[in-house]
């Protein structure tokens, strides 16, 4: 039994702190689910057709744990439809689709909704342990004397918020820091950029970032993204606005402006800048999967088929290279070669990271150097730039971690349709040293 993707869309991706900053993740997700239900309604498919919901969210908000079920019920799926949420860092979206496929192909369910939600604007600041301790003891305090003493102590600490031990910790940075190698994601990219054997320069990175932005701007201009974005009207208490296009693109940027951007992670000697890294972004996406037979019986439109999937582990401090391993393993498993794919989407976490992947893929020596412990020593074919991320990537559009994987899948399928190709490959590096990859096919 094969699994098909009936429909998929994403919301527009909005840069952190812009339009979607006041929209809680669960509300955004509910809007996306509602949109999917409306599309189903237009095919005369009731909400009860959905049998299971898989959520993909990395920065799940504290008030909506197991956000998959929260958004599905809020969005209008009956509450007897179960669901769980999965967190596979930046690879979540792809993993979630694979998991849905597993459920369908095992015959457990015949229709599964995958929904990805990320509201990175709303990741909280955290009190440091010293301050937190005081809050708790204030709660426990019995006598007035105790209460006053603790309040004063707490007050003096909060007042000196700039001191390291009292300062609030940024949840976003904590989330982006790998606890295994204690490096923030940007520094793992720096490590690749500084590797002499790869030889990636600042100019290379900026050029790649510029390419991503230009391609995305072109795609936006000619309406390619309109095919994958569901425009939404989003009410918040204070305002109501219409979001139909990504707002993180640097449309009119030039190489000089990219060159002016200052390194962020290694401020003195680094080359990874905000301009050549992916952006922090809010967004959501929905993909409806079904068993092929059911989709055919219902006479539904079919966007594509889910093909083979693989995930591979790698050195956490060089996590950016991991797609090479994942793709290698996947090709071995499926017996295909890079040239089979009409379009290839590799998530652009950092320009340095994608460039490193491309270099390793095309060189035997480098593959041996990095991947011989993992069992690969032969290079893959070089990917020509026409097929790689043809509509730009996360550097231009943004990287809402749990949703990016789903965006890759939707974009790749729509691009296959435009190119009339047969199969596509999507891959993402995963913080913590993993990579996953998936083959998608146009169904016939």
């Amino acid at each position: 039994m094969r699994t098909v993707i009936v429909d998929g869309f994403r919301t527009a991706f909005c840069k952190e702190g812009t339009l979607l900053k006041d929209v809680p993740a669960d509300f955004l997700g509910a809007l996306a689910v509602r949109e999917m239900l409306k599309r189903m309604d237009n095919w005369n498919l009731p909400p009860t057709a959905i049998e299971y919901v898989i959520g993909s969210s990395v920065t799940e908000p504290a008030h909506a744990k197991n956000i998959a079920h929260v958004v599905s019920v809020k969005g209008g799926v009956p509450d007897w439809v179960p669901g769980h949420t999965l967190n596979h860092n930046c690879g979540s979206g792809i993993t979630a689709v694979d998991e849905a496929r597993n459920l369908i192909e095992k015959g457990v369910y015949s229709c599964v909704l995958v929904v990805g939600v990320e509201s990175m604007s709303r990741i909280p600041l955290l009190y440091s342990d010293v301050v937190k301790e005081d809050f708790y003891s204030l709660q426990r305090a019995r006598t007035m004397k105790e209460k006053i003493a603790i309040t004063l102590r707490l007050y003096s600490k909060l007042f000196r918020f700039w001191k390291k031990e009292y300062a609030p910790q940024v949840g976003l940075i904590m989330g982006l820091t790998d606890p295994i190698c204690d490096l923030i994601m940007g520094l793992t990219a720096e490590k690749l950029a500084k590797d002499p054997s790869l030889g990636i320069t600042r100019e290379d990175q900026d050029r790649f970032a510029l390419r991503s932005n230009k391609l995305a701007a072109k795609a936006q201009e000619i309406g390619i993204f309109k095919q994958e974005i569901a425009p939404l009207i989003i009410p918040t208490g204070k305002d109501c606005f219409y979001v139909d296009s990504d707002n993180g693109l640097r449309k009119f940027s030039k190489a000089e402006i990219f060159a002016r951007s200052k390194p962020f992670f290694d401020k003195r000697y680094g080359t990874v800048t905000p301009a050549n890294s992916s952006q922090i972004t809010d967004g959501a996406a929905c993909i409806l999967l079904m068993s092929q037979s059911k989709a055919h019986t219902l006479g539904l439109p079919i966007l594509g088929c889910v093909g083979e999937y693989n995930v591979a582990g790698f050195d956490p401090s060089r996590m950016g290279l991991s797609p090479v391993g994942a793709i290698n393993k996947l090709l071995k498993k499926s017996g295909r070669s890079i040239s089979n794919f009409s379009t290839i989407e590799i998530n652009e976490a950092f320009a340095a990271q994608v460039l490193a992947c491309l270099k390793v893929m095309s060189s035997d020596v480098l593959t041996k150097k990095f991947f011989s412990p993992y069992g690969f020593d032969k290079a893959l074919v070089e990917i020509d730039s026409n097929r790689l991320n043809p509509n730009g990537g996360a550097i231009a559009l943004g990287h809402p971690v749990g949703v990016s994987g789903m965006r890759l899948i939707i974009t790749a399928l729509k691009e296959l349709e435009r190119r009339g190709g047969e199969s596509a490959l999507v891959s993402a590096c995963i913080g913590g040293g993993q990579g996953n990859a998936m083959i998608l096919e146009r169904s016939t």
Binding site: F27, A30, L31, R34, K38, D41, N42, N44, K74, G75, G76, P231, I233, P235, T236, G237, K238, D239, C240, F241, Y242, D244
Partner: protein
């Protein structure tokens, strides 16, 4: 104890508590009537004389929907014609309630569902009140809304229980008190979470949570473990002589501002409270309450208000000849403007899914912003929970595409008043919609026949005319054309009912009922200005008549035009011209709304707008004139009565009562006058005809009375 009572069932428990369950056999809700009170009294005497009975728990056996006691029988009040008769009746009840209050055996009221008027007064005479937090639970003394005051000691007991200021508020406004407010103010002594039951019977009712708490309390009171709640310091201070005086004078002022002095009941209620405050409950009831209620109960005003109450109840239960086909779940709204957004907001509040369409996303965001602001206010006030708030927003699905309307059963059109646009909209809708989907237009100036002129399927077309602001205007006119199918009418009526509105079925005609009659009034006010009568004089006269008093403040015709917007008025008048020469515009209206500029207003920040006088002086050779007030009133009101008679003759609606209700809820005709046609009847048909003829000779043929 015997239980051979018709409307009550009793059960004596082993612990000495007797449960008295009220179950009115003739009505779906419990209502207190003469006979029932007698029966109740016998039960009480029985309980007092029975040695095995230690305490009484009073509750209701009505379950679906739960109602404790929904008040006194209004039919009986309506039939009282004699002041003395009323007084005897009330004083009997006073004696009975005093005996209850002074009995050694504690009486506890276990309240679930509505507890209104006489029912609440009965509960107040008990020693302890336990309420369940069932969503239907609600306590109130709504007597003033019927032009009377609480007559079973409510004006005396309530202030002593919860303190003066809140008691005055509850009695003089008749507002509803919900359980959480009631426990806070001390109106009830215990609040118990409710657990739904399928079948409520006297044998099992003791197991229900709120009744078991009541039994517990009754036993505690019987064994002196608990005493009645004492007033807290704040309410005690509020009863100090100086503060008390201040409270009463402030209450009077507020009541006068709200009722304009047209309604005596709230003031009388305050007087009854004041007069009886230092006396015992019984003396206060006998000396202050019963003379006042007897006087009010026989007054014309109260009869008028009771008539309106019954008329409204009838309207709420408007019957249909056909059954609406299927359950309506999603309603489409075309046009997200002022009305469209309000209708969408109301629908989503009532749990309907809403599809709202407009041409551009900006139009929809503006509309939805209004709804979201409104709902976030509700959420801030804690009248709704966060999930409910989100659901209300999520139920409204905005769209720009017709294809989304494929499965919609009913759409309400609320776009701008342009006939061609409306016709085009209808044909676009017909292209995508299901063959039996209903198209309801919210037009104020066109007829259904005009809009549906080119429709493929005319049976589905109907008008559903809402009034602005939707939240407070309960009326919705349902304009039915000859070709509208009965199923369509039924579906729209059932929708209106579910929206909490009063459906009024009218025959398809320009302006339907309310706008048609009201336009005579509005046009006349404009003609009067043009003649030379100042803005102030016209509005003042209408205010003296009491126009719009039931909305909380009086409003003159020109103020109303400002509120509605002169642009809309122009539209309505234009379309009504086809009714005959009696409806004629005036160039002033056009000058008031110049093209490409903001329309002028008659009132600006509470003062007459001098710009209007400037326009008048420049373009209309205007000189100030004076007209006696009664003549202004006649010129404003009599044409409305005339037009109402014409509507009746044309069978736009089937009964004069409906016209009265429509003018009351849709146009602000004052309720205390009983309704437009009722008022006209009191004035005398002959008299009005003569007066109209006089006016016609003096001011023009538009006043020519209608000859049937």
């Amino acid at each position: 104890m015997t239980s051979a009572y018709r409307n009550f069932k009793t059960k004596l428990l082993e612990n000495g508590v007797v449960i008295v369950g009220f179950d009115n056999q003739d009505k779906p809700v419990n209502i207190l009537g003469k006979e029932i009170l007698k029966e109740f009294w016998l039960i009480m005497l029985d309980a007092f004389n029975n040695k095995d009975v230690k305490a009484v728990v009073l509750t209701s056996l009505k379950n679906n929907p739960p109602s404790f006691i929904a008040g006194a029988d209004i039919n009986e009040i309506k039939n009282i014609t004699n002041e003395k008769e009323c007084r005897i009746l009330v004083e009997q009840a006073h004696k009975m309630f005093r005996t209850m209050e002074e009995s050694e055996k504690p009486i506890v009221a276990a309240i679930e569902g509505v507890c209104l008027g006489g029912g609440l007064e009965l509960a107040l005479a008990c020693h302890w009140r336990v309420a369940s937090d069932h969503p239907q639970t609600m306590l109130a003394l709504p007597e003033v809304m019927l032009g009377i005051i609480p007559g079973f000691g409510g004006t005396q007991r309530l202030p002593k229980l919860i303190g003066l200021p809140p008691a005055i508020e509850i009695i003089a406004t008749g507002k509803n008190i919900y359980p959480y407010k009631a426990i806070k103010s001390g109106l009830v002594d215990d609040l118990v979470g409710h657990a739904p039951v399928d079948n409520r019977k006297i044998d099992t009712i003791e197991k229900e949570v709120f009744v078991s708490v009541a039994i517990q309390r009754a036993l505690e009171l019987a064994s002196d473990k608990k005493t009645r709640r004492k007033l807290d310091l704040k309410t005690k201070i509020a009863a100090w002589p100086i503060l008390r005086k201040y409270t009463f004078s402030k209450a009077r002022k507020m009541i006068m501002a709200q009722t304009g002095g047209f309604y005596p009941a709230p003031i009388m209620a305050v007087e009854a409270i004041e007069g009886g405050f230092r006396k015992s409950v019984y003396r206060g009831s006998m000396e202050n309450e019963s003379p006042k209620i007897s006087k009010l109960a026989v007054s014309n005003l109260s009869k008028n208000l009771i008539n309106i109450f019954f008329g409204t109840e009838d309207l709420k239960r408007t019957k249909t000849t056909a059954k609406p086909s299927g359950q309506l779940q999603t309603v489409g709204i075309l046009g997200a403007g002022l009305m469209g957004a309000q209708i969408a907001g109301n629908l989503s509040e009532k749990g309907f899914g809403v599809l709202i369409k407009d041409l551009k996303p900006e139009f929809i965001t503006n509309g939805i912003k209004r709804i979201a602001e409104n709902e976030s206010k509700n959420f801030a006030k804690r009248t709704i929970t966060k999930p409910e708030y989100e659901q209300r927003l999520l139920r409204i699905y905005p769209t720009l595409n017709w294809s989304d309307f494929k499965n919609t059963d009913l759409v309400i059109e609320a776009i701008k008043e342009v006939l061609e646009w409306k016709q085009r909209l209808l044909s676009e809708f017909e292209n995508v919609a299901k063959p039996d989907a209903i198209f309801a237009t919210n037009t104020s100036s066109y007829t259904v026949s005009e809009i549906a002129e080119n429709a493929k399927n005319k049976e589905r077309c109907i008008a559903m005319h809402f009034f602005n602001p939707l939240r407070s205007m309960k009326l919705v006119e349902i304009g039915v054309a000859d070709f509208t199918s009965p199923e369509t009418v039924a579906a729209v009526i059932s929708l209106a009912k579910k929206m909490g509105k009063l459906p009024l079925v009218v025959k398809d005609c320009p302006g339907f009922l309310v706008n048609r009659i009201l336009s005579r009034y509005l046009i006349e006010s404009i003609l009067m200005i043009a003649e030379g009568i100042p803005i102030q004089d016209i509005d003042q006269a209408a205010k003296k008549f009491g126009m719009a008093i039931d909305s909380g403040r009086t409003m003159g015709p020109l103020e109303l035009i400002d509120y509605v917007g002169i642009g809309t008025c122009v539209h309505v008048i234009e379309s009504l011209k086809k009714l005959g020469p009696r409806i004629q515009g005036h160039p002033l209206i056009v000058d008031m709304a110049p093209k490409g500029k903001d329309p002028l207003r008659f009132w600006l920040n509470g003062k007459e707008n001098q710009a209007v006088y400037q326009v008048l002086a420049e373009k209309h050779n205007w000189t100030r004139k004076k007209l006696p007030e009664n003549e202004i009133i006649d010129r404003l009101i009599l044409p409305m009565a005339d037009e109402a008679l014409r509507c009746l003759a044309e069978r736009i609606v089937d009964s004069p009562d409906k016209i009265d209700l429509a003018m009351l809820y849709g146009a602000g005709f004052p309720a205390f006058r009983g309704g437009l046609l009722k008022w006209a009847k009191v004035q005398g048909a002959e008299q009005i005809n003569n007066r109209l003829k006089e006016l016609s000779n003096k001011f023009g043929s538009r006043f020519e009375p209608f000859e049937s």
